[in-house]
Symmetry: C2
Subunit: 189 residues, 2 copies
Amino acid sequence: MATVTVRNGVDVQALLETIDAIKAKPELASFTFRASTAWNDGTHSTARIGSFLHAGTEDESRTAGFTLQGDEPPVLLGRNLGPNAVELLLASLGFCYSVGYVANAAARGIELEEMEYELEGDIDLRNFLGISDEERPGFTEIRACARVKARGATEAELKELCSYVQETSPVRDVLANGVPVATSIEVIQ
Amino acid sequence: MATVTVRNGVDVQALLETIDAIKAKPELASFTFRASTAWNDGTHSTARIGSFLHAGTEDESRTAGFTLQGDEPPVLLGRNLGPNAVELLLASLGFCYSVGYVANAAARGIELEEMEYELEGDIDLRNFLGISDEERPGFTEIRACARVKARGATEAELKELCSYVQETSPVRDVLANGVPVATSIEVIQ
């Protein structure tokens, strides 16, 4: 009988089976994720996230999908109907780090009690606003700080895990190292 | 008396005044945005986004702030309690492009009728799952497709604007060109 071990809310047995399945059939590691945004008015858009492609097959596990609002604060001419794009980017990094930390801690036998990330990024909007092109459009630096509490793990173990998660984080990878972004447009008549 | 021109829901007069104010006092273009994530259970975390620093001063316009759920689908050991981190990253790019397109269209006198972005990204999770380090952890490519309808603008004008927005988009900039990400950890006893 298989031993089912759930640690940090992660089914470690299922995680190990997933890893074994991918080792046997590497294409199971291949995903195409998607999002769409529809403009409402002014700086306010709505994003929808639903199915994705997994090893060439649609994953239909999300019956309703997810809806997110994006907007700017009044100082950037919006009405605060949602966070703005760069704030969402920071949240994305925190979510990514968190999944990586929690799952890897589970696999290593570390029981977490608390796990938080605080993220911030500095930006100069002169380029975005067309005032000057001497500054880059995006963040000049992003800082992420983990706050972790775990019974039975040493400080050294928790720090080493933080470094490992940083090196294997999908979001941190594209932010730190860049990724090709192909942008096209279809004009509707 | 000032002429107030709202186009695409953007107060063009306020936009021009913002630009003039920044030209006179460049530090007004300086922002530090923030997000935090708190782990709930398994792959599920909650992000909070609230105040930010604008020219050294806290912007307190968001009385309640925003809350977002992040999770993984069952195939990645989650319960679909929210989109995952890389999907949120795609949504962030769509929101960023959308704000840029709508605001710049307004400034150029282009009235938009529809503005959507579809975004997708390919990823191989073998690195993230610790199976192999031959693949990068993150997206190998991101594709963004705008769909735009605008009365009174030519196809050439709308395409040129898409290129301009791409070049000045904060999120596209950090994705395409990379950004320093400093990650630290605080261990709670």
